[in-house]
C-alpha cells in the first residue's frame, strides 16, 4: 500500500505518523522508530512481513515530515515523549527502533511498561550517541533553521547525549519489573556501544535477527510469563 500519513499533536509541534500497512486487526500495531537523521520508510520493510497487525512509522521531532522546533533543545528523553504521543493516540504497540530510535525504544519501554509490548533494538544511525561519558565540550549557536529536516540541532545534540550503561540498565529494570512479557527487550543490533553491551549482557534479554525478533512478538504467548 502507499503509506498514509496523519499528524499527531505533540505540545505545540506536530508529529507525522505513517501507516505502512493496515493489518488484519488481530493484534496491536508494530511501530517503527528511525535513526538519527533518518525518516520513516515509504513502505513496510521486508523484515516486518510476519507482523499481521498494522505497521506504523513515526517521524521523530525535527525529522521527516514532523515539525522542527525553534532553537533546538533535543534530548532522547524528549523524543521519548514523541513515542508517548503515539501510545496515547493508538494504544499498545511493539516497537522496532533503529539507532537513535533503539535508545528511545528502550527508554519508553521502561517508562510506559503497560503500553509497550516489547521492543527490538536494531542497528542504525545514532546508536551510540555521545558515548558513556561526556564528550569533549562543544557549544555552538546555529542560525535559525528554515524548517528543513533533519534539523541541524537534532544532528548536533543527539549525537552528543551521554548514554551511561547503568542508566540504560535502569530502564531495562523498569521494563522487566512491570512488563507482562518474559522478554520485553530483544537485541537485533550487531554494533554494540557500551550501553547496548550492558543491555545484551542481562540474562533477561535475548538476541535475534531483526525478522526473528519481530516474529517473536507476533504471538504474545511466546513471550508472556
Amino acid at each position: 500500500m502507499t503509506r498514509r500519513t496523519e499528524f499527531l499533536a505533540n505540545g505545540l509541534l506536530r508529529l507525522a505518523l505513517h501507516t505502512l500497512a493496515e493489518g488484519d486487526g488481530t493484534t496491536h500495531p508494530l511501530l517503527l522508530v528511525h535513526g538519527l537523521g533518518e525518516q520513516s520508510p515509504m513502505a513496510r520493510p521486508e523484515w516486518t512481513e510476519s507482523w499481521p497487525g498494522a505497521v506504523l512509522a513515526l517521524d521523530l521531532t525535527g525529522h521527516g515530515e514532523s515539525d522542527v522546533p525553534v532553537g533546538g533543545g533535543y534530548m532522547p528523553e524528549t523524543l521519548m515523549a514523541d513515542v508517548d504521543a503515539v501510545l496515547a493516540s493508538r494504544g499498545p504497540v511493539t516497537i522496532v527502533g533503529r539507532g537513535l530510535g533503539a535508545w528511545i525504544a528502550l527508554l519508553i519501554a521502561g517508562a510506559r511498561t503497560s503500553l509497550v509490548r516489547g521492543v527490538v533494538l536494531a542497528d542504525g544511525s545514532g546508536l551510540a550517541g555521545g558515548g558513556p561519558h561526556p564528550p569533549s565540550p562543544y557549544v555552538t549557536v546555529l542560525d535559525p533553521g528554515t524548517g528543513v529536516t533533519p534539523d541541524a540541532y537534532a544532528l548536533v545534540e543527539l549525537s552528543r547525549d551521554v548514554r551511561p550503561p547503568d542508566y540504560a540498565l535502569d530502564y531495562l529494570r523498569f521494563a522487566l519489573e512491570e512488563s507482562e512479557l518474559e522478554t520485553p527487550v530483544i537485541v537485533a543490533a550487531r554494533i554494540r556501544p557500551e550501553w547496548l553491551v550492558a543491555i545484551s549482557s542481562d540474562v533477561s534479554v535475548v538476541e535475534a535477527s531483526l525478522a526473528d525478533a519481530v516474529a517473536a512478538f507476533v504471538d504474545p504467548s511466546l513471550a508472556t510469563r
Binding site: 499533536a9 505533540n10 505540545g11 505545540l12 509541534l13 521531532t61 515539525d67 522546533p69 525553534v70 532553537g71 533546538g72 533543545g73 533535543y74 534530548m75 528523553e77 524528549t78 521519548m80 515523549a81 508517548d84 504521543a85 496515547a88 527508554l107 521502561g110 517508562a111 510506559r112 561526556p134 565540550p137 562543544y138 557549544v139 555552538t140 549557536v141 546555529l142 542560525d143 535559525p144 533553521g145 540541532y153 545534540e157 552528543r160 547525549d161 551521554v162 548514554r163 551511561p164 542508566y167 535502569d170 529494570r173 523498569f174
Partner: protein, 308 residues
Amino acid sequence: MPDNDQMRSYPGARPPDRTGHVMSSGLRLALNEWGDEKAPLIAMVHGGFDFSRTFDVFAPMIADAGWRVAAWDARGHGDSDHAHLYSWPADVRDHLAAITSLSSEPIVLLGHSKGGGQLLDLLDARPGLARAFINLDGMPSQFSAPDINDRERRRMRRADVGAALDRRLRRNELTRRPDTIDGLAGRRAPMNPRLSREWLEYLVTVGARHDEAGWRWKIDPVLHLGGFGPWRPQWSMDHLAALDLPFLGMLSGVQDDPMGWKSRRGDIEPFLPPGGRLEFFDDIGHFLHIEQPRFIADLVLEFLGRLP
C-alpha cells in the same frame, strides 16, 4: 497594607536601567541592564526557576561600583520566549549567544545555582569568553548526591519520568495557576524559606504577570523543578578543574535549604582552578546574593578590584 494588585517595592531594589533582548537561534531572550553602558561588563546568569529580575537588588550594587551589569532570562523563564524544547545544553548555547551578542572581548561572568553550573560547561568549551568567573553556589559534586539505594533511586527516576511524560502530553492544557500576590509569594516561600515576605511579594510583581484571573508566574508551565536524564554532578567538577582564569566560588553551607546541590568545601576544593578562591558560608542559604546582597556584593567587588 498595599492593594492586592499593586506593584510592590523593596528596599534597594531597582528596575533595570535598560531593557532589550538578544536572539538565540530564533528565540528571543529578554535582556536587562544596570549601570553605565561604557563601563566594564559583567554578565549575570540566574538559576533554574528564577529570572533576571531576581538581581534587582544585587545588580545595582555592582553597577553603582562602576560596572555595566547585563542579565538575561533563560528560555521559558521571565520575559523570554517559551521554547518548544528545553535542555541544559540548549540553555548553555543560549548563554553563548547572549554573551557574544554583548561583547566580542572576554568579560566577567557570574552565575547562580544552575546558571553557575551551566557557565562551568560553557567556559570549558569556550574559555575565551571570560576574563574572570564568579560562581554562587552552582558547583554540583558527586559527594553531595543524596545517600539512597539503587532501588529507591530507580523508583524516584521512574516517577519523575512518568510525571514528565504526563506533563508533556497535557502541554497544551497547562497554565500557571492564578493567585493573589500574597498567594504566589506564599507558594514561592518553600523554595526561599529564608527570604522576607516583603522580598517575595516584590519578586511576584516582577516575575509574574497579571491578567483578569490574577497573578501567574511567567515561567513556561511545562517546566518543572529537577528534570531527568543521565546527568551526573561530577561532570561539573571536570569543567571546574579545566578553568584557567581568576575564579571566585561561594558555597552555602545551609544543609536544610530546599534548593541547591549542598556541595561542601572539601567536595569542591580539589577541583579549583589554579589560584581559584572558594568561600563557604554556613549561615547563608542557597540564594546568597538575595539573602545577603550587600555582603556578597562587597566580596564580588573586592574580587573584581584585584583583576588585572
